[in-house]
Subunit: 365 residues, 2 copies
């Protein structure tokens, strides 16, 4: 099957670029001798997970229990569910763990820690530590850290932090600085727990930018990252991913022509309504238009509007094209996690026009 | 099963409100004696379609060929695929039509019209007319209208227009004015075709706002609308849907607590990144927080941030709440079509806490 034969809209994944991105991250972490626990929230695919795990211990990170169930059913046991657990979700975690998974959960809440300890099949649990993002987590110096640990008792498996505010960085120096604060906070929290007599085997940190650009990972036992596998325009704008290394694009068909514009069948559903590049120096609208080979031969042709199933591409006057209805293009996404979410599979290429595999995704919850 | 037993995030559909919204639209169109061809792009559910079709001829509108296939497999034959067709998609349409569907397609492109006429199993085709939206379609007075009709030959089934720019209106008067331009343009296009000797059985117009607020539908043979079934905060802001008549909400769990804020497990995936109320007088962020009963007892508690699986609710200081991790809330969406898209089913209630049915959705393409 050829790219030109595919239905549209659909996801195209360039395996060569994916492998290049995986190698870049593996090299970055090998400098520190720290293993990777790849975050599968972006790819949501066992085929991608297997490639991302080459040379790594084998554990992964997930963002939903649907992912946990899916990856567990494909033989991956060591799974960190990196979204704060609720007492109500513990039964489902226990059920998966009883059928072979080894799901580790996350909390920053004393009452939830007590609920975990009181559960008949309590999972191993990390305490979420806030090292500057201000989303979830207790501060490394908070009294709550020791309270939660005491309540968890033997279920405590360590600490984890996520420097999601690295996305507000705009340079390698920014990322390195945020990575050091992330590392320092996580290690400090682990030290406090150890001083209080707890065993803290896992000290987990990570985001793609800080994983790539950390100057030191001393005291860290594992790093989590996900977006680096595919990259996107936002990651390119913040300087952590080359634009030509974006591995995943949306294949689309021209469905209408207007002077200076093309109407395509990739709208808000196929691209997502994510507008993250709006906050950067180059606003790509809802995505950047590439040719069917994935090359930027259309200049700055961005998807300016995204209706439900219609996208409106504003052509770059310096790169005139005259494409008929039915012609195919590819769109590089603002935010690859969000864009992939509407699609149930990847059509995989090795950089040419041949589709060499179809890899399913696990969406939903 | 109770609402409190449901996994989160998930979609809750209030059947009573849905039926109320369906009745409101049916009444609005009955004044004109014009039938409805409900647009299933929002609900994507056969169960909702059956309710929306009560008292109507039975035809529907869809936004993807996946919807066409799904609804056809559930016994609905008369289906308008209301996104410009490409020559490459004609084989799939023909295949569905050969297995019992009667899919009508849409074009505004002369070359595509020729491709339709040359296809061994050409579908009935509407010419898309632009009555002010500026997205797809030829102008009612354009020479291309007659050119396309001539190329379609006996496959011409009529004209269709979509006044999507009604979403830029902010009052009933705006909607009525845009509806009249929509009606006039569609009828004018049909008249030109008839003057040229064509038979024009279908003159189709519609958007939820113009369908509800048209003063006249003279010359129109059918109206399309979809969002009206569920409504959303954006429709409430533009004055076409009461906020208490929003039928679909996202059930979510509290997963973290901060002063003045709640962290919930409905983020950008479960709510979508749609920010359409940003352009209105009340910016709801990524949604408005309701209590588990769907009531606005939390005041102006909006979802201020949406990460992939985390939402951050900023509580209204005038409506203090103290909810534990695991407590459930509901979020009214900015844009119901986009929010529903990440979910594979509705959990249906009759307004209380009992789940009376589960209705599947058809996503993707």
């Amino acid at each position: 099957m050829k790219l030109t034969d595919l239905p549209t809209p659909s996801l195209v994944l360039d395996r060569g670029i994916l492998l290049h991105n995986l190698a870049t991250m593996a090299r970055a972490l090998a400098r520190h001798g720290v293993p990777l626990r790849p975050h599968m929230k972006t790819a949501k695919s066992i085929d991608v997970a297997r490639l991302a795990l080459v040379g790594q211990p084998g554990g992964i990170t997930v963002s939903t229990l649907a992912e946990a169930e899916y990856f567990s059913s494909h033989g991956i046991a060591d799974i960190l569910y990196a979204v704060g657990i609720t007492p109500q979700k513990l039964d489902q975690v226990a059920k998966l763990n009883q059928s072979g998974a080894a799901i580790i959960v996350l909390t920053d809440d004393p009452d939830t820690a007590s609920a975990i300890a009181a559960h008949p099949a309590p999972p191993r649990t990390l305490i979420e530590v806030d090292t500057g993002e201000g989303r979830g987590g207790v501060g490394p110096h908070d009294a709550a850290l020791l309270d939660i640990a005491a309540r968890l008792g033997p279920n405590l498996a360590g600490v984890m932090t996520h420097a999601g505010h690295s996305y507000a960085g705009r340079s390698i120096a920014d990322m390195a600085r945020i990575a050091e604060a992330e590392r320092h906070g996580a290690v400090r929290a682990a030290e406090r727990l150890r001083e209080a007599g707890h065993t803290v085997p896992i000290v987990s940190m990570g985001s793609s930018p800080t994983a790539l650009h950390a100057a030191s990972l001393v005291g860290i036992t594992e790093v989590r990252a996900g977006v680096y596998m595919f990259g996107d325009l936002f990651q390119a704008e913040i300087g952590t991913h080359a634009i030509e290394d974006i591995a995943m694009t949306v294949l689309t068909s021209v469905i209408g022509r207007r002077p200076g514009k093309l109407l395509v069948d990739a709208g808000g559903m196929a691209l997502s309504k994510d507008r993250s590049t709006e906050a950067t120096t180059h606003d790509y609208g809802f995505g950047l238009t590439l040719d069917i080979a994935g090359k930027p031969t259309l200049g700055n042709a961005i998807v300016r509007k995204a209706y439900q199933e219609h996208g409106v591409i504003e052509l770059d006057p310096q790169y005139p094209v005259n494409l008929p209805v039915g012609a195919k293009l590819r769109i590089a996404p603002n935010h690859t996690c969000m864009t992939a979410a509407a699609h149930d599979r990847y059509y995989v290429t090795d950089g040419d026009d041949e589709v060499v595999a179809i890899w399913p995704r696990v969406n939903g919850w």
